[in-house]
């Protein structure tokens, strides 16, 4: 099957600053792709290129097999939802929804039908006669989604649509977007810097940094098998603990942490046989405490330095052999600084990266 959106060798320079560098990306029909990265990584720029709001310096963009690199945004079969909602303030909700259809010179009956249908899907029928100023943030973003919906587009583009909403509304609307995707089965490309949104919504996540895609894979793989140290560090909150150590392969693969040899017999090597200086990374949530730690293959004794109770769990800051270490314990456990704790982990759940290119081993 041909990809819904295909980006080939895309480059974009702003003067001497190169924002996108030779980017290739194929997005399947009906796929939900999340572009994730910190500010300035080029994710919004890429989305604007796909929308046709920015002209690339080089490369091409195909949507449903058509080369749309130089097409007008409205001729690409895309709909876009913006962070600031971008509703036309002087028009009613109905006017906002029908603006694009009027520009396309669609018959009035058809416009009415489509607006009514979109309003029904998004449950904004009672708001149709109101102006955007009289709507709440969540309602405004619903109208903005509706504006893309009425145009019956192939590809939905979301540019950080939930960033301006408060936490509760964000969670609600996130579920609604997911439901919308399941109903419509459109291709959706979603830009965010929020990893929770990325993990929950995406079929695949593209993690970007400096105009390059660092890893493109399912949320599961991104979380469990990050391709490089940047991705490992970026995904997960709090982020992964890294030990600076050496990987030896003489007596089977093993690393040394705080004077103890840790066998990596259970570790799923991407590049078996590599040895040398490495980063040994283990996620805070994969560090076990209490009885569970006693059963873990590798165990250490550490002291708690700081505790951050968060209700369901408590985040403990500690250190092991000079390396900062964070891990989670049950929220019911009372931790005071200075407490001695037994921790343990299964090296099979770790991620190991070489120190030169910081790629997964």
């Amino acid at each position: 099957m041909q990809p819904s959106v295909s980006i080939q060798n895309l480059k974009l320079d702003f003067g001497s600053v190169s924002v996108l560098r030779d980017l290739n990306l194929d997005i399947g029909q009906g796929e939900f792709l999340v572009l994730l990265g910190s500010s300035g990584c080029g994710k919004s720029t890429l989305l604007n290129c796909i929308a046709g709001l920015l002209e690339p310096t080089e490369g091409s963009i195909h949507i449903n097999g058509n080369n749309v690199t130089w097409s007008e945004p409205s001729d690409r079969g895309i709909g876009m939802v913006f962070q600031s909602y971008a509703l036309y303030p002087q028009m009613t909700v109905e006017g906002n929804l029908s603006f694009g259809l009027k520009n396309a010179r669609m018959p009035k009956d058809e416009i009415k039908t489509r607006v009514a249908r979109a309003a029904e899907v998004l449950q904004i029928e009672p708001l149709l006669k109101r102006k955007p100023a009289a709507l709440s943030g969540g309602q405004r973003q619903r109208v903005a989604i509706g504006r893309a919906l009425v145009r019956d587009v192939d590809v939905f583009l979301f540019d950080e649509p939930l960033s301006n909403l408060d936490a509760k509304l964000r969670a609600d609307l996130r579920v609604e977007i997911k439901r919308l995707h399941q109903t419509l089965e459109n291709t959706m490309i979603y830009v965010t810097h929020d990893q929770v949104e990325a993990m929950t919504l995406a079929d695949r996540i593209a993690i970007m940094k400096g105009g390059v895609v660092m890893q493109l894979d399912t949320p599961d793989v991104i979380y469990n098998k990050p391709a490089n140290k940047y991705v490992a560090d970026f995904i997960g909150s709090p982020s992964m603990n890294f030990f600076d150590t050496v990987l030896t392969t003489a007596d089977g693969p093993q690393v040394s942490i705080a004077g103890k040899d840790v066998s990596l017999a259970g570790y799923d090597f991407t590049r078996p046989g590599v040895s040398g200086d490495v980063w040994f990374g283990i996620r805070p949530e994969h560090i076990l405490t209490g009885e569970m730690a006693g059963a873990a293959p590798t165990q250490f004794e550490v002291r708690a330095e700081l505790a951050e109770p968060m209700g369901a769990e408590t985040l403990v800051w500690s250190s092991l052999d000079g390396t900062a270490l964070r891990f989670r314990v049950d929220g019911q456990m009372k931790i005071t600084p200075g407490d001695a704790l037994l921790i343990g982990f299964d090296p099979a759940r770790a991620s190991i990266f070489d120190k030169v290119e910081e790629l997964r081993i």
Partner: protein, 305 residues
């Protein structure tokens, strides 16, 4: 006293917090208001003298004190200034100049704002290649003294056949309004969120649709400001009016000058004063009606560079 005791028992939150209320007649306030009062009187005095003089007969002016109110109010000077006073060969008063000024101001204001708003919109939203160079040239235009360009423009207008008629003057006013108005509109449109423009483009709107359907309705306040700025500036213009038109087309300001400065016969102070006040009526009315809006618009345009 009863009030005080209730307050002591149950202090209301409004009394419990907030800054200490200021007394209306503190020493500082008395100082400020006296100075403001003196300044206001100082600036209003000439206006007062003009108004009083215009309502007196010539005989009374010659004998009386200029500050004294008229003993016998007469509207004769006003009528004469408006309808019968002579400038050159024409003896139909300031009314001719008034209508000339209207004929000059209305199209000049309309065309300059129409073009400048599109300029500002294109410069802030579409950012075409060379937009910055274009804008810089336009702004430099705002800093060149008008006097430098007087003669070249005379030649230019003569070559295109517009010298001496109202069309030529309208063109000159439109062009000279461009730098400051474009700046005003560009800054205003720069404050419109870019995502709105992007959304409209995704919705299939092109250059003019976005301008008329999205930007224009949002820009009403700045249009009002521009109308005020341009109307007062063009109405008060003397230099271009005297140079680029012929006597039968002179605007009100030029005609006023000709009335006041005519050296033949008796100086009719009362008619001169009435004529001056008549010329100032339009800009004065605009300021009084829109003072707040005017200040707000200027401030809005000035924030973003």
């Amino acid at each position: 006293m009863a009030d005080v005791t209730t307050n002591m028992r149950r202090p209301s939150p409004a009394h419990a917090s907030g800054p200490k209320p200021r007394r209306a007649f503190s020493r500082k306030n008395i100082m400020i208001y006296s100075i403001l009062f003196v300044l206001a009187v100082y600036y209003l005095l000439p206006f007062y003298v003009m108004l009083m003089t215009s309502l007196k007969g010539l005989a009374e002016i010659r004998t009386g004190n200029i500050f004294a109110p008229p003993m016998e109010i007469t509207f004769e000077p006003w009528a004469k200034a408006w309808a019968t006073v002579c400038t050159g060969l024409n003896c139909d008063g300031l009314s001719r100049g008034f209508w000339n000024s209207v004929k000059i101001t209305v199209p000049s204001v309309f065309f300059s704002i129409a073009v400048a708003s599109v300029n500002g919109y294109a410069l802030s939203m579409w950012r075409f290649k060379g937009a910055n160079v274009f804008f810089t040239i336009l702004i430099i235009g705002a800093f060149i003294p008008y006097q430098v360009m007087i003669y070249p423009i005379v030649v230019l207008l003569r070559e295109i056949g517009l010298y001496g008629n109202l069309g030529g003057l309208v063109l000159v006013h439109t062009v000279f309004g461009m730098p400051i108005l474009t700046l005003l509109f560009r800054n205003y449109f720069s404050s419109v969120p870019e995502e709105l423009f992007k959304a409209a483009r995704v919705d299939g709107a092109r250059f003019w649709t976005i301008y008329f359907k999205i930007m224009l309705p949002m820009a009403v306040p700045i249009f009002v400001v521009a109308v005020i700025l341009q109307t007062t500036a063009i109405w008060n213009d003397f230099l271009f009016g005297v140079i680029y038109t012929r006597p039968e087309n002179y605007p009100m300001t030029v005609q006023l000058n000709n009335i006041v400065n005519s050296v033949t016969g008796v100086k009719e102070y009362n008619v001169n004063m009435a004529a001056t006040l008549l010329s100032g009526v339009v800009p004065l009315t605009i300021y009084f009606l829109s003072g707040k809006l005017f200040v707000r618009g200027i401030a809005a345009g000035a924030v973003k560079g």
